[in-house]
Amino acid sequence: MELTAADILFYLFGFVSVVSALMVVFVSNPIYSALLLAVVMSILGIFFFNLEAHFIAAAQVVVYAGAVMVLFVMVMMLFDLKREKEEVARFSILTVLKIISVGVVCGVLVGAGAMITGDGMGFIKVSTTEAPPPPSMLLKSDINAPTKQTTNPEELKDEVVEITQNPQAGVEIFTKYTDTQKLSLKLFSKYIFIFELLSVLLLVAIVGAVALARSKGGTHHVTRGS
């Protein structure tokens, strides 16, 4: 099978994301690294799109690129951080050690990633070849026949039951519904409790952030650089 547009795009965006990730770490001005990180996140959004995780892709862009990075940029702008003199720790044995260990981590992860075979190293069943005909691709503008979605709850309900009891059924369902429905079916059936728990977590985070932001900053008066 020759090179599809998607493959070209993957390599292009892959390269861009790696370069910008590196720049995020090594650029001296933090604002630029924040913006670059936003770029990386959008590119990841595109990758998700490629992997038929449409809702997650949109969510990624909205949540990460749109909100979290904006927070970072706003905070940095408030701090008005200009170029930093010596952003990376000066050259010392420790730095070498760090770089070596990161090299090892990268080697191990990339090696593992590259070597993963069909049986998924005994963890999960993975088919490294192309998944069954994906319902939609980014730029194939003409196909995309609207797939039939059942709306009445009874049919949906047994669908849900089917998933939880019979994981194998999961594969058929995987192809019948659009990505977002699949996600929501599972999310609100098997993982409903975690979903509610997350809301509590967010609440806690909000309260925490507000409390911290309002505090006068620091509990004991320590002169700078003491």
Binding site: M1, E2, L3, D7, V18, A21, L22, V24, V25, A34, L37, V40, M41, F47, F48, L51, A53, A59, Q60, Y64, A67, V68, L71, F72, F79, E87, V88, A89, V105, C106, L109, V110, A112, G113, A114, I116, G120, I124, K125, T128, T129, E130, A131, P167, G170, K182, L183, L187, L198, L201, V204, G208, A211, L212, K216, G217, G218, V222, R224, G225
Partner: protein
């Protein structure tokens, strides 16, 4: 790649490519955390690491035809957002107090 379709199958994007990419991004994140002195940059590197993990989750979700991966990404996102919020709040508080963002100055909790 033991894919039976022709020579240049190496180039056709499979699960391995995504995993390799997420591995690289993850190590860059770790590098950022280890090398940079600026607290905010460290927070951002952590975000980067989380994103790399998300990528591998989604890749696995697609190639294993199982929605759990995406659901996990969903959870990771919320947690990352919460973490970023709280992290930034702390950074703001610290900056207000010490007018300093370089973590080299915060080593009072010494052994």
């Amino acid at each position: 790649m033991q894919d039976q379709k022709g020579a240049h199958t190496m180039l056709h994007v499979g699960l391995n490519h995504y995993l390799v990419l997420s591995g690289v991004l993850f190590s860059i994140g770790v590098l950022g955390v280890l090398l940079r002195k600026n607290a905010l940059i460290i927070l951002m590197s952590i975000e980067l690491m989380l994103n790399a993990v998300n990528l591998s989750f989604v890749a696995f979700s697609k190639y294993a035809q199982n929605m759990d991966g995406q659901i996990m990404v969903f959870f990771v996102m919320t947690i990352a957002a919460a973490e970023a919020a709280v992290g930034l709040a702390i950074a703001v508080a610290v900056f207000k107090r010490f007018k300093e963002v370089n973590i080299a100055h915060f080593e009072n909790l010494k052994g």
